[in-house]
Symmetry: C2
Subunit: 697 residues, 2 copies
């Protein structure tokens, strides 16, 4: 026995982070030859998009894959962007050092977070082919581009450099390149087609990055081009300070130990989001610490008390201290209309609905869920629906089953929304695709490969709510289609057959043909609305026409309401019927007296849009008798829109009720696995999210 | 634009590995409060088991969980082992430094590999409670134990130490503790019961570590005790050298650069497993490099050529160079009988079958798959079967859906083996539990939390083959049960009713009762075998009785064969019928003339076993007429047993055919996702794995 402990201990040594990831390269997404190529492209393209957005440049990215040795599966990848470029002395660290980057400590939405991705690619190339990665980069205020071959000393986690120099960088057309970065990497990998492929990754990227132009030259030399569908860059995201609700004790201890603030008052005001001057005072009182205490003297139990005040475990005047929610300008959702554009561009379908939830918060981190649903068209009806998962605008291509977003989809009983789903659980079947996007300052993946989201009760709930709301939109669409088809059938029957019978009968009886319009009205006994939304090539506007037929025997009065993309910057033109704005994106017209057998027409045009932006208008009504082809106004719907308007108006900073806040914090702590019971029932009433952009396309 | 590149670059900095894992603590298994506690227990227990095995100590591990603050979810975990202990100066590194350990570079089967686990626990405690972890450790040749409070400086990845000292460590009974380690950690966590709980983790651990004694005191003070069911420690594993088939170019370059060998000949012989002197010569020739070349001169294209020879891309005499398989003494499977014991101890059932495949190799790493199936008993019949996944004797509790082992189970059509399975895909339903264990020198998990295995075509194939074979065992068992029940029914009918009819008829006709034995034989027209296998309390042996009835009208001749646990060290006793050894674990008796209407009995006893070790004997026969209750000998079965004997006899080092080897290497490179097509059809013939330990329990 003696000596065995020492013997065992003597074998222990420190492993470098690079050695760790070299051995565990599958953690980074390098597990099979096909996936390794996708991972490499993904890391390079993610970096390019992040850099362009930070520098406010509309990205143009070119990806070229060449097979160098088919027998040995050696592939070359070249990714070129028009980003700001990387200063010469930074190149080696960005490409040759793991865990080096700018985004790790920044609290804001970005694709890259960890400083692992592209260095992982360099490491994989070196390991599998022994070759270095060639990087060329030019920044705007230098005349030439820097180039260098980068490798990785895995024992030291340092870059190795070779063949460094400078050169003039010419574009294909012979002009000089202004700025950008080009990565040339040669690796053991395999190019393949299909559901999990470079092509599919780029196609999905283009859906959620409609502002990017992506050109892909595949190994056969074929050129695939996804054009830019909007010139609008995503909203610029700002880094925010951590929110007290997301702080853990160890972190707070470190912040205090490293603080250079004058005293606790300054510390609280300078280092957190959501802490107003009032909140600062109340936090100090709840924690029973003087705000004027020097930071050096804030220790042990003080820190614990402070954290308990943060978390509402210590009270001020018998209540948890009210904190503002973190600002949400750290997020940049894609937004409904752009998702719709992206989807329509890549998937042929009959019906598209999209939905962006208002931002929410989990553990102090703002996040936002967006969903889209495409139905009909050429999609197969007997297969599971296609699931398109995204996090911070990056497509997730692997580990679908283990991803929170998939679980959110599976948790919904889709049968009530018109999709097949054996047992009411699991991925539904039908001619549909479901898109779900999480934008967050801290996306929690299950591993470094960033392919699946880890469980989180709040994100699950938001995603599920979005699905339910979208499901209702689909059901409404299908029901409306059905109802309209029935009414149309009845209408045609009455309008065609009744006069024919009347004519025949009159002939036989040798009497005059009777006047039928009154009878038709009585038989129909309905008010019908019909609407068209059409792109007008000449005026470059979207023309909308709403017709209301009164096929009843009484005078009718209605308020007709229509949705329109006001939030997206559309303008209401040639609206001769007048009316008024009812809420953001909802216009209303009062129709006082609609005579029996008569029809009324409302027409207007929408300016400021592009073709395909707006293809169906939702018609709603207020009034006592149902209108076929329109939806009765749910006043809660309007209330919710107004609440959202308020939130957006205040640029994301809303004083929440303390109770709500507190409840959220508790959910974070008490819920360990996303629990079925906590989630709202599938038959819950609409919780007011708008599905403004539903429509046939 | 100017300056943006510099501005972006100026924000970049290096992140410490500890900071990385602090932010991404969910990668390490700290994602929910309940799971965090399981993860902490798991890391401590894994370390304890590894240390005990390395020091050849039968482990006794005590785990105590106490709730310190129910409102704030603060929990204390104490894990004490009787391992070799850790020298005082090593404690801080083991517990306070990430990626520090002895097992990262060693190629052998061990639970811990990465040097992350227990330091992750220390980090999590510090982050969530601000508290240090108390460690006490005593090694055998020191009079006192060392103790210290360990924390983690995440910015530097260094331990912080406090309150270090030495003390006498007393056991509960007042005696002095000889050696061992005790970890006391306080963390934000939640104790819960159920399928994913500390209790379940320990229960599963005891199944695959039958040599360990585990005592668990839960927060209510209840004491759970899993006793040691074998005094035999797992086979000692030896570290092996890397195998040429598992080497990648970057790694070979580094090995050559760091080599201190005299020349290439020495390098090849000293640093690899599987390279004989013949292979060494042939590799040099195939690579066209002189074996006497100094290592410094082996560069660039030489290294590439060498790797191509390793991988069979460069040929010697037109063929790939033959290499030995890596030795398999780096693996320590649990072995069939111990799995069965473990399962029987914890799950009540009617039928247990287990199977250990012979070791195989993927990418130069030896691995071995073991499976077990439990059927019947008190288990629910309408639910998915329970899946018990293990890797290197560690239970896997999370991410079941994303795990290779689950996928292997799902890929089998279980309907043909008597289990329900809607659509012939997915986890089967029925009153059963399936155990699957992967032992490997390099278990590839999907993340640091080590809860699911990443895809690998060879492991998938081995696991699937094991499932198929086990499924056949289950089917055989169910069919045999059915057939025996039918025969028994017929037998009872004939034996009870025929005489009754005869008697009644005789009475009515007033004639003597006829002799019926001849008629019964003619009606039955079958040879029936019955066997019992019973533990004899007095002799401490397992008594086996085999009876053969000849209910046919002709003389019969058979060879009867029976399985017995020879490999596990059993001895054949009191076998008066004699016979001979047919193969390892198979005994045979020749029965020359079995008269019509007669029966023959074979009895013997098995020594060297414990109660419960052997509860059912499989009876086989050679002969022309079927024997109900026995299985016709499949000669391939014997051939396979003999092949395995040979493999085992050569202690794992077998010269494979070059073609087979080559084919394996190709599969590694060409297969990116485990492909359905590559796997043998579900109705494949038995590939000869023995299911020796099937039986009712």
């Amino acid at each position: 026995m003696s000596g065995i402990a020492q013997k065992l201990a003597s074998n222990q040594k420190q492993v470098a982070i690079s050695e760790f990831f070299e051995k565990n390269k599958h953690f980074l997404g390098f597990d099979s030859l096909a996936r390794s190529l996708i991972t490499a492209v993904k890391e390079a393209v993610d970096n390019a998009l992040d850099a362009c957005e930070e520098a406010r440049i509309l990205p143009t990215i070119k990806i070229q894959i060449t097979k160098l040795d088919t027998k040995k599966d050696i592939v070359r990848m070249v990714v070129e962007d028009n980003g700001p470029g990387i200063p010469q002395k930074s190149i080696e660290k960005v490409f040759g050092q793991l865990l080096f980057g700018s985004r790790f400590h920044a609290i804001r939405q970005s694709r890259g977070q960890q400083g692992i991705g592209i260095t992982g690619v360099v490491m994989y190339c070196q390991l599998t082919t022994g070759r270095t990665t060639h990087v060329r980069s030019k920044i705007a205020n230098e005349p030439t581009a820097a180039f260098v071959d980068i490798g990785l000393d895995t024992r030291k986690n340092k870059a190795t450099k070779a063949n460094a120099g400078r050169e003039i960088w010419y574009n294909e057309d012979g002009t000089g390149k202004e700025h950008g970065t080009e990565v040339t990497a040669e690796m053991k990998a395999k190019y393949q087609k299909g559901r999990q492929s470079v092509w599919q990754y780029l196609r999905m990227t283009s859906i959620v990055n409609p502002h990017a132009e992506i050109i892909f030259v595949d190994p056969e030399g074929e050129r695939h081009h996804w054009t830019r569908v909007t010139e609008r860059l995503p909203t610029k995201v700002e880094s925010i300070k951590p929110h007290p609700h997301g702080i853990e004790l160890g972190q707070l201890q470190r912040m205090i130990a490293e603080s250079k603030d004058l005293n606790l008052n300054h510390f609280l005001l300078n280092n957190f989001s959501g802490v107003t001057n009032r909140a600062r005072k109340e936090l100090c009182q709840a924690a029973e610490i003087e705000g004027t205490r020097k930071m050096k003297s804030v220790k042990g139990d003080d820190i614990r008390a402070l954290l308990e005040s943060f978390q509402g475990e210590r009270l001020f005047n018998g209540l948890p201290v009210k904190l503002l929610k973190p600002p949400t300008n750290c997020l940049s959702p894609i937004e409904e209309m752009l998702i719709k554009k992206g989807l329509s561009k890549t998937i042929d379908s009959r019906f598209v609905t999209t939905l962006t939830r208002v931002p929410s918060v989990t553990q102090g981190n703002p996040f936002q869920v967006e969903v889209g649903l495409i139905f009909g068209g050429g999609m197969a009806g007997d297969k599971p629906v296609e699931i398109l998962r995204f996090a911070n605008r990056v497509p997730l291509m692997y580990q679908q089953g283990g991803c929170l977003l998939t679980k959110a989809i599976e948790s919904v009983d889709w049968r009530q929304y018109g999709l097949d789903q054996p047992g009411g659980k699991g991925v539904p079947k039908g001619p549909a695709a479901i898109l779900v996007h999480l934008a967050s300052t801290n996306v929690q993946f299950t591993s470094e490969a960033k392919e699946a989201l880890a469980d989180n009760a709040e994100v699950m709930e938001e995603a599920r709510k979005a699905m339910l709301e979208m499901g209702r939109g689909l059901r409404k669409h299908l029901e409306k289609k059905k109802k309209m088809a029935k009414t149309k059938e009845k209408f045609e029957l009455i309008n065609d057959i009744l006069p024919a019978i009347a004519e025949k009968s009159a002939q036989i009886l040798e009497r005059p043909i009777p006047e039928l319009s009154g009878s038709i009205t009585r038989i129909m006994s309905a008010v019908i609305s019909e609407s068209t939304t059409e792109w007008n090539k000449e005026t470059k506007q979207t023309d909308v026409e709403i017709i209301l037929f009164n096929y009843t025997s009484r005078v009718r009065a209605y308020t007709i309401l229509a949705t329109w993309p006001e939030k997206a910057g559309a303008t209401m033109e040639k609206n001769e019927t007048g009316g008024r704005k009812e809420a953001l994106g909802v216009w209303a017209w009062k129709l006082e007296s609609l005579q029996p057998g008569e029809k009324t027409t409302i027409t207007y045009s929408l300016g400021g849009l592009e073709r395909g932006d707006w293809t169906e208008t939702e018609i709603l009504f207020r009034g006592s008798q149902d209108v076929i082809g329109a939806t009765k106004m749910d006043e809660k719907f309007l209330q919710e829109i107004r609440r959202q308007e308020q939130i957006l108006g205040e640029s994301g900073v809303v004083e929440p009720e303390a109770e709500t806040d507190q409840k959220q914090a508790e959910t974070v702590e008490k819920t360990d696995e996303p629990s079925e019971e906590k989630i709202e029932p599938a038959v819950a009433p609409p919780d007011g999210q708008r599905t403004l952009f539903g429509g046939d396309v």
